[in-house]
Every structure is written in C-alpha cells, then in structure tokens.
C-alpha cells in the first residue's frame, strides 16, 4: 500500500520543529509501524538525508522505549499495543498518517520523535522501591501473600514506563504511571512497611516535575499498551490520604 506520512521533525531540544511530509510506497501490511519507519530511514540515509530519530529497542512491546503519537493516539489507534507491535495491516492504502512526539512539559523533545522521559525515573527514584539490601531478605515463603492481591499487584506492575498515559491525558498527568507502582507495593505485605513514605515522596516528586492533575477522564486507561486500570488511581488516592 501507499501512504503519506506527516512526521514531526525537530533538530534538537532548542530548535523549532515542523512537520515534514514523506511518501511511502509499497508498504507491506505485514510490517510493524517501526519497520515501516526503518524503510523510510533507509531511503533517507541513502539520499544522505537525516533519518527520523525515534526511541526503540526490544521491538516486542516490553522495554517501553518506543512511543509515538499516531493519528491522535499514543501508540496509534489500536488498543493495547506499543508502536513497535502496531501492525501496518491496520492502515489502508492512501492513508495519511500524522506522527508526533509525546507532548508534555515534563517530557521535552530531544530530537524528532524522541522525548526526555527521565521525569519517570525521578519519580521512581523518589520512592519506588522497598528498602532491603542484598543479603538481608528473609526466606521467600516466610512472606506469604494472598494470591488475589499478588495477582492484582502483578497487573499493576507490568507498566513499561512508556509515557503513553501522560501523552494521552489532556492534562498530561502521570497519575496512572505513579499509581501502578504504588499499587504494586501497596498490595504486597513486604511493600506495606514503607507505604506512607513512598506515596508521599512519589506524589511530591510528580507534582514538582510539572505533570498535570488527574481529572478522571480515563484516556490513560484507554491508551495504556499494558491495560493498566484506573482502579490503580483510586488506590493511589486512598493510599495518599491514608499517609497523613
């Protein structure tokens, strides 16, 4: 199929960006979205033009590196997939595809479609851990945990930190991301011990970094490639006021 791509090009953080238009011919529906961009980049490099810069690594939807805002949706219009697993079979011949970087104040553009997501690391550094040194852990089965809670903790823990929730939210709020980590630890007995300090520290950092406020629109849940649920945000809210 033949496609028209409108891609955001921005030389560096300080530069003014704009959309560039590219024609792509003979795109196979079996390609992934990133493979389609690989093909575009191959063409650009062969013409000695600067290829489109984008973050990507595992290409199987687990590392959280990739992330593009495609036709009005983070990771494109198909639910529950990352950009790297977005198959071109969901697009049709003649489509125009608009590709933009994540837009949020705490995620400044570095180049083209690459944004700086170190804000997420900062939130995790603030409190996203259980304080235990290597060697200090008790026998694993001495900390039993209810299967139901443990399974729910797992469902929260599978966040890949891609930032789609922030990109989707009209307020650029990071609540889903923060709540996923808070939930994982809140639901496990070993995580309860520091629960109060953790939630205070992580929320404080989230606010400091300039993310917007949650207004329960649900866009994050709808766009999360790992289908992290809004119930996590409710749990974060609970955990937060329990901490005072």
């Amino acid at each position: 199929m033949n496609l028209t791509l409108k891609i955001w090009r921005q030389k560096n953080a300080g530069a003014k960006g704009n959309f560039a238009t590219y024609r792509m011919e003979d795109v196979s529906p079996k390609m992934s979205f990133l493979e389609m961009l690989d093909a575009l980049n191959k063409k650009l490099v062969e013409e000695d033009k600067d290829p489109v810069a984008f973050d990507h690594d595992c290409r199987e939807g687990i590392c959280g590196s990739c992330g593009m805002y495609i036709n009005g949706h983070p990771h494109g219009p198909v639910p529950a997939v990352t950009t790297c697993l977005l198959s071109m079979r969901y697009f049709s011949d003649g489509d125009t595809i608009c590709v933009e970087p994540w837009r949020a104040k705490p995620f400044p553009v570095i180049k083209d479609l690459i944004v700086d997501r170190s804000a997420f690391d900062k939130i995790q550094i603030a409190g996203g851990y259980i304080s235990v040194n290597a060697g200090a852990a008790p026998e694993a089965n001495s900390i039993p945990a209810q299967k139901k809670n443990s399974d729910t903790a797992f469902d929260s823990s599978i966040c890949i930190g891609c930032g789609a929730c922030v990109a989707a939210c009209k307020n650029a709020s990071a609540m889903l991301f923060v709540s996923a980590k808070i939930s994982q630890f809140a639901l496990l007995p070993q995580g309860r011990i520091e629960a109060k300090d953790r939630v205070r520290a992580m929320v404080e950092m989230m606010d400091e970094l300039g993310f917007g406020n949650c207004s329960n629109t649900g866009a994050c849940e709808a766009e999360c490639p790992k289908e992290i649920k809004l119930t996590n945000i409710a749990r974060l809210n609970r955990e937060y006021y329990k901490a005072y």
Binding site: N12, S28, K30, S32, L34, E35, N41, K42, L44, V45, D48, P51, A53, H56, D57, C58, R59, E60, G61, I62, C63, G64, A80, L85, S87, R89, I110, K111, R117, S118, F120, D121, Q124, A126, G128, Y129, I130, V132, N133, A134, G135, A136, A137, P138, E139, A140, N141, I143, P144, A145, K147, S150, D151, A153, F154, S157, I158, I160, Q184, Q190
Partner: protein
C-alpha cells in the same frame, strides 16, 4: 597457557564458595566511599551489581545506552528464573540444579562457577521476593513454580510470561534506592567506546553521550562490564535491536580474552520472519512447550492448512526422536530438530521455514480457560504480531538467535584477564557451557550482580584503597579518547551509499546460513571469506548522514556493526577450531549415525579463550582445561 588462572578455591565443591567468602580480603567500610567502581549496563546483572555495590558503600557510576536503566533487555525474558528451593518436594537440590546445568551445558562449563550459581539461586529468589517482585503464588500464599525445558523438576519461579520484566524492575528499584542515597550515579544514554587501561589495570572508560555526541572520560578503581550478549550478530534475533557487543569487544581489544565465542544458543520457539524489513524475531516462551506439541506434516511440501492435516499424517518429530523428554528437550536439540525438518522440505507456511506448535490436545484436555491462564499474554502477543488466533490453529514457530554462552573469559572471581575488569551476566562465558538451560540466565545474571561480584570484587579492591581517585587527565585517557574520536571520524568520512543496517542484515544472513544451528568446515571458511569481503565493502561504501556531535543513531549503529565484523571472524575461528559437536555448537562432521551431537572430551574439554594481538593479526588461543571433580562426563541423551 600460563595466562589463564581460574582461581577456583581448594576444597570440596560444595564448600568452595563458603570457604572463599570466609577468607576473601575485605575493604574497610570507611574506605569504601573512596573507591569508585564503574558498572556498564543496567540489565539484571548490571543493575543488581550497581545497587549491591552501592549498598556496600562504594561510589558507583552506572552506564546504559537506553534512556532509562529500566529498559535493558533483561526486561524481555519471559519464562522464569530457576532456584533450588525444592518447594515442590520433587527431589530438587543445589546439587541437582548444578548437575542439570553442567549436563545441559554439555560439560563445557567450569564446575565451581556453576555450583556457585546454583548455590546463590535461592538467595536470589528470597531477595527478589523481598523487593516486591510479584512472582506467581499458590492459593495458600506461597510461591508457585513450573517446570522448564531440559529438566525433570519444577523449579522455575515465574511472573506470567513477564518474569524478566518483573525481575529487572526489582533490580531497577534497588538501583533507584541507591541513586537516591547518592551511592550510585546514573549515566543513561551513554555508549562505552573504549576501556582505559593504566599500568595493566582497568581504570576507566570512554563514553559517548548519545544526545550531544560529546566524548567523555570516566575514571574508576575497577570496571564491571554487564553488557549482555552478542546475539544480534545474526541481525534477526530475539534480542533488542540495539543490543550489541561493542563494549565487550573494546575490552577484548584492550586485553580481555574472549572465551568460546562460537557457543550461541538458537532458541527453538520464536515467531518466524514475516517480511523482509523485519528487524527482530519475537520470542515465544519456552514454557509453551510444556503444553504445546510440535509437529510438521509427514508429506514433504504439504501446503494444506494445519487443521486440515489428519492426525495420522502428522509427524510429532520431537516425541518420535526423543520419547523420554519429547517436546521438552533442551533448546539446542529442539532447534536443530526443527531445522532438520525444514531443510528436508517439511516446513510449514509460505516460506517453509516454520513448524507447528499445537495446543489442540492441551485445550481439549485442560480446557481453553486453563491454557489462557498459563499463556494468555503469549497467545495475545502472537495474535498481535501475526493476526493468528492460536486457540483455533497452531502457532508457527522457528528458531532464532537468542543467547550467547560465550563471552569474556573470567576467573572464579568474575575478573577478566585484565586486572580490575570484571564481566558479569551474559557478557561472561562461565556458567552455561555450550548450551544454556531455560530460566537460568536471569538466575545467573542476578546471582552474579547481587551475591557473587560484591563478594569477589573486594579481594581486588582491598589493595586499591591507597590508590587515589583516578584522574582522567592521564595520557592513557587522552589516547583512548583520541582513538575513539578517530574511529568516529573514520566512519563518518566514508560517505558511501549504504546504511549500517543493510550491512548488518547481510552480515546476519551470512552468520545464520553458515554459522547458525549447524556448521561445517567448508561453510565456516566460506563465511570467513564472505565476511571479509563484506567488511571491506562496509569500510568503503557506508553512509552516515548528519554530524558526530549530535544525536546520530546511524553513527551508533555503524560503530556496532563494525565491531560485529571482527567478532564474527573470531566466532568463526572458534567454531573452526572446535572440531566436535557440543551443545549449541553442532559441527556436521561430528555426529552420531542417527544425527546426534558427537562430543570429543579427549581433545576439546577446554574453554577456548582467545587473545587479541592486533588489527588484522590472528588471535592466539589459550586453553583452560575443564576438570570435572564431582560429575562424570557422559553422553548427553534426552532419548
């Protein structure tokens, strides 16, 4: 020969590690802060090493090429992590885990290292649990396990099909805690370009800031490489597309021996290639073989849809050839058997390069719900990629490059042949011999980082406390920096026509065709020749647009591919040298009449450690004899 001192402690195998720990030299807590350690890589081994060294009080600098340490490719491991807990009361023990690994590795691993890996496995599970890793649990609240290919006990702890992600996020959390405490300083989006060796000791690294292109010098008392494997040498592999061997290769060129490079594991169950632009092959967890049955048609070139092939016309070739282990044979055996069927013309799908992995019988027996609970996310992922619903028709799978057992040679302390340079996790060679058993890579990587290295590194650092902070204005740093810059300008100035990826793809094709699952002398020599030509073409016709002092992904790729040409040549040299079939290394000349691997313990029971002698010069082979005190070398049979 004299250069390889394994430093394996004396005494009975089961007591070596305990004895070692009790007698190892320590660094006074007050002095630790003054000692700087560089850790390159933030995967399971790198992040665990950086955090536990931070916990001990050392000043750690941790580097990764990704934007965040959480993205290292350990994140993609699916199936599980082994430990000798014996929670199932099924006869498991440290010894049995050790024995399975030695046997699975086809008697080409170092006994003492493997035993230690098995020994610390239980601590690893305890630690991950304490860190809040949500492993699967039973209704009573205790941890659940499952069984994995190549063993007969259930010792694999798991978190659905995302065990690697969960373990890595556990390590990432402990790393974050140390970053907050100021014990670890994190340097993301940095690529290591060279190792700095001063007076024979590793004293620092040269990195490139991938955003600004700036070349940076970092000094330290010791350097730890946790840079993973080189599976992307095949271009298409289950690895992250940016995974590379450049850091290890640079260390090799500075004097670290490279051991058993030809031992590369080809994983039997990955999604087959779908299009020519494909950039990677996605793994489908080995755990699927617990319930899925592998088959092809008994008719050559059968193009019927899988569901139309009647039962009696199906060839369940693994069950036929290996009645005892059936579909659960180790990875190397399963991969080779798939290749054998496809080469013989029985492969399925448009390309004929795939076999069926069928869940029909398991669904009939256990119900769809049970299968969904166990593998739901894998079935979903398969459907996302291929559009095929595996509850209705078989998955198609094909082997893909996956894990490299070979790596930098290390002694018992995980130190390379350069004093002060350590290699941990997949980047070293030590624990998996010629083939790795499923669910043992997470175990080894975390074991190395959390429990082994923090204990062994003090033996070296104890003598280093009097050494002042390593100044980066020494000539060795300037030289290494200059060399790195020169290489960048050399790459930038070729100004040819082709992309780095297109060379990588062609290199991968050669490697897959001649140096993949089965190898022969003529093919290996042919590959050497082809790679030599391709390398020449690369240095004449590569094109990198843009500048070096900017974010330039083409430049990053080019540097990695350039190193892969050299590593490929060494890999083939090693494969040529090893005139036997063992584990993942299958030389067609050395097989039994019924097509099984034929090992040669008399002549090849050694680790082949290769010394770099200079650009274009042949490597020198050093042999570390493998002495087995506890186990008897047997023919590895899964029949």
């Amino acid at each position: 020969m004299g250069k390889l001192i394994s430093k394996v402690p004396e005494g009975p195998l089961a007591q070596k590690w305990t004895r070692y720990k009790s007698s190892v030299k320590l660094v006074n807590p007050a002095n630790k802060k003054k000692v700087e350690i560089i850790v390159v890589g933030t995967g399971l081994s790198g992040a665990s090493a950086a955090s536990s060294l931070g916990e001990l009080g050392y000043s750690v600098k941790n580097f990764c090429y990704q934007d965040s340490p959480r993205r290292a490719h350990s994140v993609a491991a699916q199936g599980g992590i082994n430990a000798a807990k014996n929670y199932q009361n099924d006869g498991d023990s440290v010894y049995r885990l050790f024995y399975d690994m030695i046997k699975g590795g086809d008697y080409r691993a170092r006994e003492a290292n493997v035993y230690r890996a098995a020994e610390v496995s239980n601590q690893v599970i305890d630690h991950f649990t304490a860190l809040g890793v949500p492993f699967a649990r039973d209704y009573g609240g205790t941890l659940d396990t499952r069984s994995f290919g190549g063993v007969q006990v259930s010792r694999t702890f798991y978190a659905k099909g995302q065990t690697g992600q969960q373990c890595l996020l556990g390590c990432y959390s402990s790393l974050n805690r140390q970053i907050k405490k100021g014990n670890v300083k994190m340097f993301p989006r940095r690529e290591m370009l060279d190792l700095v060796v001063i007076d024979g000791r590793a004293r620092g690294i040269i990195t490139r800031n991938l955003i600004t292109g700036e070349i940076e010098r970092h000094g330290a008392h010791a350097v730890v490489l946790a840079t993973g494997g080189y599976g992307t040498i095949y271009y298409l592999s289950t690895l992250a597309v940016n995974s590379n061997a450049s850091a290890a290769w640079k260390a090799h060129k500075k004097g670290a021996f490279f051991a058993n490079p030809s031992f590369v594991q080809i994983h039997p169950t990955s999604v087959p290639q779908l299009n020519e632009f494909q950039s990677k092959l996605t793994l489908m967890s080995e755990s699927l073989r617990n319930d899925g049955r592998i088959w092809v048609s008994k008719t050559r070139g059968d193009k019927r849809p899988a569901n139309d092939v009647p039962e009696d016309e199906r060839d369940y070739y693994l069950e036929r050839r290996y009645p005892t282990f059936g579909n659960l044979v180790p990875r190397d055996v399963a991969s080779r058997a798939a290749k054998e069927r496809c080469d013989a013309g029985y492969g399925v799908g448009e390309t004929g390069l795939a076999v069926n992995l069928d869940f029909r019988d398991a669904i009939n027996k256990q119900g769809k719900k049970a299968i969904e609970n166990k593998y739901g996310n894998l079935f979903d992922m398969y459907k996302t990629i291929t559009g095929i619903d595996s509850y209705e028709e078989p998955m198609r799978i094909y082997p893909a490059g996956h894990y490299t057992m070979g790596g930098l040679w290390v002694d018992y302390e995980l130190m390379t042949t350069i004093p002060g340079l350590y290699a941990i996790g997949e980047s070293n060679f030590s624990d998996h011999g010629a083939n790795r058993l499923g669910a043992s890579s997470l175990m080894q990587a975390a074991g190395d980082g959390y429990f082994v290295l923090p204990n062994t590194i003090s033996n070296y650092l104890a003598d280093q406390i009097s050494v002042a902070k390593i100044a980066t204005d020494k000539p060795e740093f300037a030289d290494a920096e200059k060399a790195a810059m020169e290489r960048i300008s050399k790459l930038m100035s070729i100004k040819g026509k082709q992309t780095a990826s297109s060379f990588h793809k062609r290199l991968g094709r050669i490697m897959w065709d001649y140096v993949g699952m089965s190898r022969n002398e003529a093919g290996l020599k042919k590959a050497l020749e082809l790679i030599g030509e391709l390398k020449d073409e690369f240095w004449k016709d590569l094109n990198i647009p843009g500048n070096a002092d900017d974010l330039n992904m083409e430049l990053e790729k080019a540097g990695r591919v350039a190193d892969y040409f050299d590593l490929a040549q060494l890999l083939i040299t090693d494969a040529l040298n090893r005139k036997e079939s063992c584990g993942a290394h299958f030389r067609e000349e050395y097989q039994t009449p019924d097509g099984e691997a034929l090992r040669n313990d008399e002549e090849y029971a050694y680790v082949a450690a290769w010394e770099y002698t200079g650009e274009g010069k042949p490597h020198i082979l050093h042999k570390e004899e493998l002495k087995f005190e506890e186990v008897e070398m047997k023919v590895r049979s899964y029949k």
